[in-house]
């Protein structure tokens, strides 16, 4: 009984802690409620799609897809081309998605194949792969673009004549999705079209889980050996999960950047992975289990934290820099905490099952 309660607390610890933290930080920051609401609703539209991209690999038992950064890079490459050809509005966004998709499929295939060689340590491998690909991305964007790959618009290029500038102004596609169907309710702007895209994505994921492929993915996530024995192509299924995730991350990054309106060519994607993963985990997901409600709750809580912490830090200790460090600490810390809690629980379960095998000696022994 006591054990059950403990497990429940461990299961939901992260959400509870964050609700408490935010409940303390909001009055400290002293921001008007309407402003907070507007910010959270905007950021929900901006970020939810990216976080949704993480769900399938978790279902396939591959943990948090740190390799989603690869998809974000693909999305950015699409946006760079669209900006260079000055294609505006929705056609620009659609073209960016069309350009990014094949790149994301290729990168996803590479990522999935690499992760298949590192079963059991997919996360750390995906994490390093993202760094590695970042090198290739820089090679492409900083050196090849404008020299080997023609870039139509010289304004995108560095003054030396090749390589993309650090900041690309996405003026052509800026908020073009958000503004297709924007409602204003009581002074708060709602990007309905973006929400519809996110809802469609949620529906797709729900539907996908019921397909044959989705069922296979779940089986692979549960038990690899049994799935293989029952005729599921395990490696192929895992690669497909990563490919879908990478493509979604590419689309998600495009949605994210059209809302922001500027692309930090060499930084935007680096933060994508960490922030999306932190958001999902704050929403109560774990390395093995994540759902659509986790995504929504996580994005809301994470961004509330993000908005209020610099002000709260400033009002509490008198240093905005401190608040900035605090929110980075939280992003890293929540990932660390959630990984620790999960591994801890798994090890406790293993120890418990081993102890029960030995005849129910509940404590001691198991090192």
């Amino acid at each position: 009984m006591k054990n059950k309660f403990k497990l429940f607390l461990i299961d939901n610890a992260v959400v509870v802690v964050f609700v408490l933290l935010i409940a303390i930080a909001i009055p400290l920051a002293g921001m008007p409620g309407k402003y907070l609401l507007q910010e959270v609703l905007t950021r929900l539209g901006r970020n939810a799609f990216l976080v949704l991209a993480l769900l399938l690999p978790i279902m396939a038992g591959m943990g948090l897809n740190f390799g989603m950064v690869l998809g974000a890079m693909a999305g950015q490459i699409g946006l760079i081309f669209v900006s260079s050809w000055s294609i505006r509005g929705i056609p620009g966004l659609v073209l960016a998605v069309i350009l990014a998709t094949p790149i994301a499929v290729l990168l996803g295939y590479v990522c999935g194949s690499v992760l298949n060689k590192a079963k059991g340590r997919e996360m750390v491998t995906g994490y390093i792969l993202a760094f590695f690909m970042n090198g290739i991305y820089q090679l492409l964007v900083l050196y090849a673009m404008g020299s080997l790959i023609p870039i139509g618009n010289p304004e995108l290029l560095l003054s030396r004549g090749y390589g993309i500038r650090n900041v690309v102004d996405l003026i052509g596609v800026r908020q073009s999705l958000d503004k297709v169907l924007q409602l204003t309710v009581a002074g708060i702007k709602l990007p309905i079209a973006t929400y519809l895209v996110i809802a469609a994505m949620c529906a797709f994921i729900v539907w996908f889980k019921r397909t044959k492929l989705g069922q296979d993915m779940r089986a692979v996530g549960q038990e690899r050996a049994v799935s293989l024995a029952s005729g599921i192509p395990v490696e192929r299924t895992r690669i497909i999960a990563i490919i879908i995730s990478t493509v979604l991350a590419a689309v998600g990054q495009i949605i994210f950047l059209q809302n922001l309106g500027t692309l930090n060519t060499y930084n935007s994607h680096e933060q994508t992975g960490m922030f999306s993963i932190a958001a999902l985990l704050i929403g109560g997901a774990s390395v093995r289990k994540a759902s659509i409600p986790n995504v929504i709750v996580g994005v809301v809580l994470f961004h509330l934290m993000f908005i209020v912490s610099p002000m709260a830090g400033k009002n509490l200790i008198g240093s905005a820099q401190l608040g900035e460090f605090f929110r980075q600490f939280i992003s890293y810390g929540v990932i660390a905490l959630s990984l620790v809690l999960f591994a801890w629980k798994r090890q406790a379960n293993e120890d418990a099952s081993r102890a029960s095998l030995r005849g129910g000696a509940s404590k001691g022994g198991a090192a």
């Binding site: 390093i128 590695f132 090198g135 240093s319 810390g333």
Partner: protein, 347 residues
């Protein structure tokens, strides 16, 4: 022929490529106007600077805790030691000695907690270590602002808050090891005998430790934890010892680095310390659960060699600064290779 194949398979293709690449850089260097002597001296200096942090990887790899991405934790101990030493106003040998003592003590304490944590999350050490390292760097970033340091060399001059991002150790222990018994070669090149000697002593000590009873038990735990437990070794204790040792070495490593570099880098400085060290030991021939002293020497030399040689040589050849990109691709590519290789012991 089969001998060559076996060698390639055993040593690993990426390592051979990297070694050949470095060799090519050294061969090309004189033709593009890069002085070979100065390159060599640079490599030696960086070799001494970074060696101990690479050495800090060995105990944890040997005990099966994997690559120590949590190195920033040790580095933080070193930063605290260094700043406290300066705060006390100690200079020269006394200053460096006190900084070392504080660093080792804090390193042991941090390492103990970190090791306890890693013992509870077996199998996920590397990812957790990465994020524990990162979050402790951010936690310390907050602390650097808040901690009541008073020494005027370290705090922001006016209207600022907390410690400076970089603190000069000039006047305290700048090059105290590097200049010890230093040999002057040519007009501007000095061979840092003392620093290289300290590195060699550390390597010898760790080598010796690994051949003691505890060290042997540690290696057994890393090679086969089940077998180790069956033969009566306390697995968790051995892992704990290795993590403490790694963290202490990491802390001392950054002190040696600072005295040669001349500056203490606070705030986000420790972020960038783990990856080069991890990449170096892997380039030297270590795998995720086996490492020895030769790996440390070879790896540090190869990795630092490439870091030193690429900017100067590549820039002179093609007039574009590829070096940063090459560094990113080589170091992460090497880590990726090690992670995806089938290790002999299934974990």
């Amino acid at each position: 022929m089969s001998g060559v194949k076996a060698f390639v398979a055993d040593f690993g293709l990426p390592r051979i490529i990297i070694a050949v690449f470095l060799l090519a850089l050294f061969v090309i260097a004189p033709f593009v106007g890069v002085s070979l002597t100065s390159s060599f001296i640079n490599v030696t200096a960086r070799f001494g600077m970074n060696g101990i942090m690479v050495l800090a990887m060995v105990p944890m790899i040997q005990s099966g805790c994997g690559l120590n991405f949590g190195l920033p934790l040790g580095v933080i101990a070193g930063l605290l030691g260094a700043t406290l030493g300066i705060e006390f106003g100690l200079t020269g040998i006394a200053g460096f000695g006190v900084a070392t003592l504080i660093t080792l003590t804090l390193g042991a304490i941090f390492g103990f907690g970190y090791g306890k944590l890693l013992n509870r999350v077996k199998g996920d050490e590397m990812m957790i270590a990465t994020y524990v390292g990162f979050s402790s760097v951010m936690l310390m970033s907050m602390a650097w602002i808040v901690l009541p340091y008073k020494s005027p060399t370290m705090i922001w001059g006016f209207a600022g808050e907390g410690l400076r991002t970089t603190i000069s150790v000039e006047g305290f222990w700048d090059k105290i090891l590097s200049n010890f018994l230093a040999v002057r070669i040519g007009p501007e090149f000095v061979f840092p005998t003392g620093m290289v000697l300290v590195f060699a002593i550390c390597v010898a000590l760790v080598w010796f430790f690994l051949h003691l009873k505890t060290g042997t038990a540690m290696t057994a735990v890393g090679s086969n934890p089940v077998y180790a437990r069956a033969s009566g070794i306390d697995v968790n204790r051995m892992r704990l010892v290795s993590v403490v040792l790694s963290t202490m070495l990491g802390g001392f490593g950054i002190l040696v680095y600072q005295q040669s570099f001349g500056f203490i880098q606070l705030y986000e400085g420790p972020f960038s310390m783990a990856f080069p060290a991890v990449a170096a030991i892997l380039i030297g021939g270590a795998s995720v659960n086996k490492a020895n002293m030769v790996n440390v020497f070879v790896g540090t030399f190869l990795f630092q060699g490439i870091l030193t040689m690429t900017p100067s040589v590549i820039n002179s050849v093609i007039k574009a600064d590829f070096s940063e990109v090459i560094r990113v691709i080589i170091s992460n590519g090497m880590i990726l290779y090690a992670l995806t290789r089938k290790t002999k012991v299934a974990r």
